[in-house]
């Protein structure tokens, strides 16, 4: 079982996303994260999804995705050198002495406190998935009030580009 990051250029049309998601549901594939937004070319969306599966299954997943008419191009970023980022907003309990400690921890992880109330900090953090998880561990789950994560976005390193 390996973690795969599938990056897709998708026709920016109504219903296209539902076909991708539906394919995963109907064939019993698992989606761990999913992000989607239009690209610099407004007719195309860029979609990134992560999934854990074996070699045989990822071959089927990519082949089945490629069969969808609206899938223009597809790459498994985990096959090569790539950069991946996720953004997290996290609300943590911050009272008394904890406030300074949480600020220090956020600094270490290069997070930013983007909202402050008497008892709560809201922190913004970007990085790879394991970094965000390490931050939650460092804060301690007892202090965490709420998290929201964008899911992974990824791009390959160097001169390789995913475009028409």
């Amino acid at each position: 079982m390996m973690r795969h990051i599938i990056s897709i250029l998708l026709e920016n049309e109504p219903g296209a996303l539902s076909r991708v998601v539906g394919l995963f549901a109907q064939r019993g594939y698992n989606i761990e994260t999913l992000t989607v937004a239009p690209t610099e070319d407004p007719t195309l969306s860029r979609l990134t999804m992560t999934t854990h599966c074996d070699d045989r299954k990822i071959e089927q997943i990519t082949k089945q995705l490629n069969k969808l008419i609206e899938v223009v191009k597809l790459v498994d970023l985990s096959e090569g050198q790539h950069i991946e980022r996720e953004l997290m907003l996290i609300k943590v309990k911050a009272v008394g002495a904890q406030r300074a400690e949480i600020k220090r921890t956020a600094d270490i992880f290069r997070g930013q406190i983007v909202d402050v109330s008497p008892c709560v900090y809201t922190i913004q953090l970007t990085g790879a998935t394991d970094k965000l998880e390490a931050f939650i561990d460092a804060i301690g789950s007892a202090a965490v009030l709420e998290t929201v994560r964008t899911g992974v976005s990824g791009i390959s390193r160097g001169e390789k580009v995913l475009s028409l």
């Binding site: 026709e11 109504p14 219903g15 539902s18 076909r19 539906g22 109907q26 045989r56 071959e59 089927q60 082949k63 089945q64 490629n66 069969k67 008419i69 609206e70 899938v71 223009v72 028409l164």
Partner: protein, 574 residues
């Protein structure tokens, strides 16, 4: 510049796409379109009695002609009634274009009368689907739908049309595109030359080869090429349920169907083969039996136009993605170039072995002394009476397997059945779709008393349009295949497989204005078949044939076994 309403554009575009028949059923959201249908004569409309049958008729038409069948149904229940028919076509890769009405676009999402999300409901069983958002895009979407349905691995395409896209008083410029191009859809035109070369080398080096031919050969219209290749190499050939007729059923080199109810020799040859050439077949679970025991000695060459079919269940040693026809052409050219032939001595001893295997089961069955027929006898008599040249459609169950086993199809496109989805109720409307397009050919629906009742209302459609198909109902008074499994696996507890209250089919056929004939014993069959085919040539004839309910379909692969593990009769195992 010609100005047309959305409804008129739709009908005109269908005509330009080469459509002869629309199979459909009107309703509120389609009324503007049906008015446009009324005002022209180029495209004919066939009014079914249930929308599911419309989809099966279009499907039967497509399987026999190779051209996409067209279905038109109203929003809500009209559309959802076609789902089984669309799924049937999807599973067997049959080209189809389905036009579904939709409520006015400003009502979409409001749970309006007869509104369903047809794009959503149909999504898992279509190759693609469109929703019309501007009336002027209708011709382009029709052209795209046919292009997608017919090319690559064919399949159904749905177009959902809100009623306000077809308003009769709103007219737009009509432009039908000369050529369709989609940047994200480029079906392969030919296979990879390096792979084809490797395949040819493997074929030439084979000592125990077999060709495993599937529905892709029929769909691609490449039967002649397959036949030529098999014959020049002198290889044995077996076929899937969907591929029957791809290689002639009476041919010397033909081993019969393979798989769950395949012949002994086909399954044993596959098991012992050293090279398998799979052509347009997809290693379905009803073929392979347990995949971990599948053909242990074989190197597998797999030709398929759909890359996702390759190495899905069985890993291919030489995968070739491309249309069957062009790949076979290229193989033949390479064989010509090489000027070599396979090892003649090895082939001779392989054929000797095969011919020793052939009589082991020999598709034998025992006839009853009391005149009550076995279903196999009826199919053999039908084959003789129709000179083996009829279009035969079937429903699903024992009768389907008996038809596949005992009607030897020498030509492609003649055997029309729901192989992948296994849809009861398919056979009769499919036969109607075939007969309307081949009025001079014999078209027979082999069915059972269970399946036929799933779309029996279409006898009314047959009266309206004069569609003289012949229905051969193998009546054993029970759901035969379910009963067989209950006999084999549930100690004969026939839970809900017994049809306790069958209608009088003869009277029912007469009530619909057709001819019904009952056949109770062997000596009545020849006359009844002769009457059905000759005396009542231009009438629909329903032959209600009593057959032995105790009969099982054999051979039958033993679950979780290898290809060669089979029951050959109720008591005999390999």
């Amino acid at each position: 510049m010609e100005l047309l309403s959305g409804g008129e554009m739709l009908v005109r575009a269908l005509h330009e796409a080469g459509v002869e028949y629309i199979y459909g059923y009107p309703g509120g959201s389609l009324l503007h379109i049906y008015d446009a249908v009324y005002k022209q004569s180029a495209v004919k409309h066939v009014l079914v009695r249930h929308e599911q049958a419309a989809a099966h008729m279009a499907d039967g038409y497509a399987r026999a002609t190779g051209k996409a069948g067209v279905v038109m149904v109203t929003s809500g229940p009209g559309a959802t009634n076609t789902i089984t028919g669309i799924a049937t076509a999807f599973t067997d890769s049959i080209p189809m274009v389905v036009i579904s009405g939709q409520v006015m676009s400003h009502l979409v999402g409001d749970d309006a009368f007869q509104e369903t999300d047809m794009l959503g409901v149909s999504r898992p069983v279509v190759k693609h689907s469109f929703s019309v958002r501007r009336p002027e895009e209708i011709p382009e979407l029709i052209a795209k739908a046919f292009y997608i349905a017919n090319t690559g691995r064919p399949g159904p395409v749905l177009i959902d049309i809100p009623k306000d896209m077809t308003m009769p008083n709103e007219r737009y410029e009509y432009v039908y595109p000369k050529k369709v191009k989609l940047r994200s859809y480029t079906p392969p035109q030919r296979g990879h030359s390096g792979q084809i070369k490797k395949a040819v080398e493997l074929l030439l080096a084979a000592k125990r080869p077999v060709v495993y031919s599937g529905g892709g050969v029929i769909i691609d219209g490449s039967s002649d090429k397959l036949r030529a290749l098999v014959d020049r190499l002198d290889f044995p050939c077996t076929s899937t349920l969907m591929g029957l007729g791809g290689y002639p059923g009476t041919g010397e080199r033909f081993l019969g169907m393979l798989g769950m109810h395949g012949t002994y020799e086909a399954n044993v040859v596959m098991h012992h083969a050293d090279v398998i050439l799979a052509v347009g077949a997809r290693f379905d679970d009803r073929v392979t039996n347990a995949t971990n025991k599948f053909c242990p000695d074989a190197k597998i060459i797999h030709i398929d136009i759909d890359p996702s079919s390759i190495s899905k269940t069985i890993t291919a040693d030489v995968p070739i993605v491309g249309p069957v026809g062009t790949v076979l052409d290229e193989m033949t050219a390479l064989l010509d170039e090489a000027g070599e032939t396979p090892d003649a001595d090895a082939l001779a001893s392989w054929w000797k072995q095969i011919n020793d295997w052939r009589p082991r089961h020999g598709m034998r069955y025992e006839k009853n002394d009391n005149g009550l027929m076995k279903p196999q006898e009826v199919i053999e008599a039908l084959w003789t009476a129709t000179k083996g040249d009829a279009y035969v459609t079937s429903d699903v169950g024992q009768h389907q397997m008996f038809a596949a086993q005992y009607y030897k199809f020498d030509k492609p496109n003649r055997w029309i059945n729901s192989g992948g989805l296994g849809t009861m109720g398919f056979g009769f409307p499919a036969a109607m779709g075939v007969k309307m397009n081949f009025p001079d050919h014999e078209v027979v629906c082999v069915t059972g008393e269970g399946s036929i009742q799933m779309n029996i209302q279409e006898m009314s459609t047959c009266l309206q349009y004069g569609i003289p198909v012949k229905i051969i109902c193998l009546n054993n008074g029970s759901l035969g295949m379910v009963r067989q499994w209950q006999d084999m696996n549930y100690e004969g507890r026939h839970s809900n497989s017994y049809m306790k209250s069958l209608p009088d089919f003869v009277k029912l056929a007469a009530a619909y204005g057709h001819v019904g004939i009952q056949v109770k014993s062997r000596d009545e069959l020849p006359q009844a078949l002769d009457d059905a085919l000759n005396k009542y040539k231009d009438r629909l004839v329903f032959l209600d044939v009593a057959v032995d309910p105790e009969e099982h379909v054999y051979p039958m692969q033993v679950p979780l076994g290898s290809m060669r593990d089979m029951w050959l009769s109720k008591t005999e195992r390999t």
